[in-house]
């Protein structure tokens, strides 16, 4: 299957973009990403003023990666060469930019447009380094920022959102109204890496951002809300580690996706694995274009009011062969799961059909059925 997509007027050979971060910090890095197969690259955040990065700044936690990294180490002038280099090697370059007022960010936008960027992503949603409120976390402010940039450049403008906000839909709508060509999200989630309890010291010396597997459900929720609320394309970011995750984002409305952490952790060859998996699944399932799956799962999302109350209870399909596991029994809040002589049974009188055992069982022996 041909993986190519048209996104905000750009012809991409596939929908996987490498997101703003250390993997796109220089022309050389962007070239590597493209040679490894990325459909496009989003530069590390470009700003007027360099703020040097602290050491250390990355910690791998159980479910994801914490970082307290700030912006690019290159000056605005130096980015001219970096972007040109990446483009010379065939990269489609989306410049991620930051400014602290509408006029400032519009100025940088116009600069990177001249440097040859194919599109712009507004990087105004980083959860650290910009105060508790962030740069533009109010819809009215985001509108002004986006508007100023859209007015100043001819290339398409995408707005990157964070989930560290009260109402992501209002922000997405403000960006759309201001003329954004697409919304991307999510940026990292504000976090603290942990505490070394022996020394009583936080693992990293300030608040940072969380990324990787753990934040995917948060990203999926954001993309689903954004897709429902706006009519511009969405670009899904957050915790994509397998090709299935890309499909999940697409089925919730994304046209393209961005990946950072899983490539940091698994190397550039991981881009190839994602692409192979994506192509394989699409072909196997008889799809010819991503349009056929885009937003497919959105209709399955309902309001509580619409969800019918059905008399589900858990039932055991087959015998359990891991006798010492007992995960289901321990996790059953309602004490409905019983073990007798190595046999699992569910007491339908006690079971409330919560469904936890279905997802907790390593063997998948439970199923929800209507109570007889």
């Amino acid at each position: 299957m041909d993986l190519s997509v048209n996104f905000i007027g750009l012809s991409l050979k596939n929908p996987i973009l490498i997101s703003a971060g250390p993997l796109t910090g220089s022309g050389e890095m962007m070239r590597k990403a493209v040679e490894a197969g990325a459909g496009a690259v989003v530069t590390k955040t470009i700003a007027n003023e360099i703020r040097s990065n602290v050491r250390p700044r990355l910690v791998k936690g159980e479910g994801g990666l914490h970082n307290i990294e700030l912006y690019s180490d290159f000056t605005l002038e130096e980015w001219e060469g970096e972007i040109a280099y990446a483009k010379k090697h065939g990269a489609i370059v989306i410049a991620n930019i930051l400014g602290h007022t509408p006029s400032e960010i519009a100025y940088i936008a116009q600069k990177v447009e001249r440097y040859g960027a194919d599109a712009i992503e507004l990087g105004v949603s980083c959860p650290h380094g910009e105060g508790l409120e962030g740069v533009a976390s109010e819809p009215s402010a985001l509108y002004e920022f986006t508007k100023a940039v859209v007015k100043r450049v001819k290339i398409p403008v995408m707005v990157k959102l964070s989930s560290n906000v009260a109402n992501v839909v209002k922000l997405a709508k403000a960006a759309e109204k201001a003329g954004a060509a697409a919304i991307s999200g999510i940026d990292t989630v504000r976090s603290i890496a942990g505490v070394d309890i022996e020394t009583g010291q936080a693992l990293l010396p300030t608040f940072g951002g969380y990324s990787g597997d753990a934040i995917r459900p948060i990203g999926l929720a954001a993309i689903a809300s954004i897709s429902e609320a706006t009519s511009i394309p969405a670009c899904g970011i957050g915790g994509i580690t397998k090709h299935e995750h890309i499909l999940e984002y697409m089925m919730l409305g994304a046209s393209t996706v961005q990946v950072c952490t899983s490539i940091i952790l698994n190397g550039h060859e991981h881009i190839g694995l994602l692409l192979d998996g994506l192509r394989g699944w699409m072909t196997q399932n008889g799809y010819e274009s991503f349009d056929e799956i885009k937003g497919k799962a959105l209709t399955s999302l309902k309001s509580f009011e619409e969800i019918k109350e059905e008399p589900y209870v858990s039932q055991v399909n087959e015998g359990c062969s891991i006798s010492l596991c007992e995960k289901c029994k321990k996790a059953c809040i309602y004490e409905a799961i019983e073990w007798t002589d190595g046999q699992v049974t569910v007491n339908p009188q006690r079971c409330t059909g919560c469904g936890l055992c279905v997802s907790i069982c390593p063997q998948g022996i439970f199923e929800l059925n209507w109570k007889d």
Binding site: E49, T101, G131
Partner: protein
């Protein structure tokens, strides 16, 4: 005849590299050396600054006019300008205007005569008619800080009113109601703007203005010292003092300490500017951070764009506004540390 920038561009190296070939050949690799020298020959480049500026009619120097180098705010602007100018292969002439219109005009005449490549005018007192003179000579210029007159020029500025409003509001949030203000010299609009921000915040909080709580300083440490002494003598001493710049705040801290009082327990102090010293003195000063270094960077960027490309193709005037930012430290008596961490 080519200039150093054209040579650099042609050779695909930075201006700094070409300059090293000329002045410190030992620090350049043999291949780079060969490439640069060959390019110079091909482009008939003579590394003679004077001859070149004659030929170009403009020198590789830009002028930076600032009010006063002794105010720690301005070296930061100069550093921002220099960081860009160096990459472009230019050097900088620094002039102190001392906020004196005549002195500024004299400099202007001198510098135009010297054929500087462009001007950056900081807190300029000049009027439109003066600037017209620069325009007539086709010398590019950029203004830093807003001018009294509505001037048709590329400009980088910040909002003093908003900064003063923010920091006064912060003092009110901490819980003070008797808040005094040591103003800067009131013949400068930025200081009038700051006073207006202070007054607006009090008014919005329903705190009535008291004339005894507003004293004029002179932008210097002594002004802050004397201002604070005077405020401490008022019938009801203020709970907090907002000094219109950090230097005056430092003077005020000295005055309060020497009266045997404690900061912030007896009197809280906040400043404006966020000079380096603000994070070093005891107690660390809560202040408004002015993005001065960034203003220098952007001013230089705008200037070099005009020098290199002439006017913007679409005749767009760049008026870039930078946001002042509240930096919460210790001197305001704020207990909530999370604000400090998120500075």
């Amino acid at each position: 005849m080519a200039n150093i920038r054209e040579v650099a561009k042609q050779a695909g190296v930075s201006v700094a590299t070409v300059s090293r070939v000329l002045n410190h050949p030992e620090s350049v690799s043999a291949t780079t050396m060969e490439l640069v020298l060959a390019t110079m020959e091909k482009m008939q480049y003579t590394p003679n600054g004077f001859a070149r500026s004659l030929a170009l009619n403009r020198s590789s120097t830009i002028a930076l006019l600032i009010p006063n180098i002794l105010n720690p705010l301005y070296p930061q602007i100069a550093k921002g300008v220099e960081d860009v100018a160096h990459q472009k292969g230019y050097n900088i002439l620094l002039c102190n205007t001392e906020e004196n219109k005549e002195k500024e005009r004299d400099y202007l005449d001198m510098l135009i005569e010297k054929r500087v490549g462009g001007f950056i005018l900081t807190s300029s007192q000049l009027e439109n008619k003066d600037l017209q003179k620069i325009k007539n000579q086709n010398v590019p210029f950029v203004m830093v800080g807003r001018n009294i007159e509505d001037i048709d020029a590329n400009m980088v500025f910040t909002d003093y009113y908003m900064g003063a409003y923010q920091i006064t509001q912060h003092l009110i949030e901490v819980g003070y109601s008797k808040i005094a203000h040591i103003t800067g010299s009131l013949n400068q609009i930025e200081n009038l703007e700051k006073r207006r921000g202070y007054e607006k915040a009090l008014e919005e909080a329903g705190i009535s203005l008291q004339s005894q709580y507003i004293v004029e300083g002179n932008n210097e440490i002594e002004g802050g010292y004397l201002g604070a002494k005077k405020l401490l003598k008022s019938k009801e001493k203020p709970q907090a003092i907002f000094a219109a710049n950090d230097l005056m705040a430092i003077g005020a801290i000295d005055a309060i300490k020497s009266s045997g009082l404690h900061i912030p327990e007896d009197v809280a102090i906040v400043g404006f500017d966020d000079i380096t010293m603000a994070a070093l003195i005891e107690p660390k000063l809560t202040t408004i951070s002015q993005p001065v270094y960034k203003m220098g960077l952007i001013a230089a960027r705008l200037l070099f764009e005009s020098i290199e490309n002439g006017q913007q193709e679409d005749g767009f005037q760049q008026k870039i506004f930078l946001q002042p930012k509240l930096k919460v430290r210790k001197s305001c008596g704020h207990e909530n540390r999370v604000r400090e961490i998120f500075n």
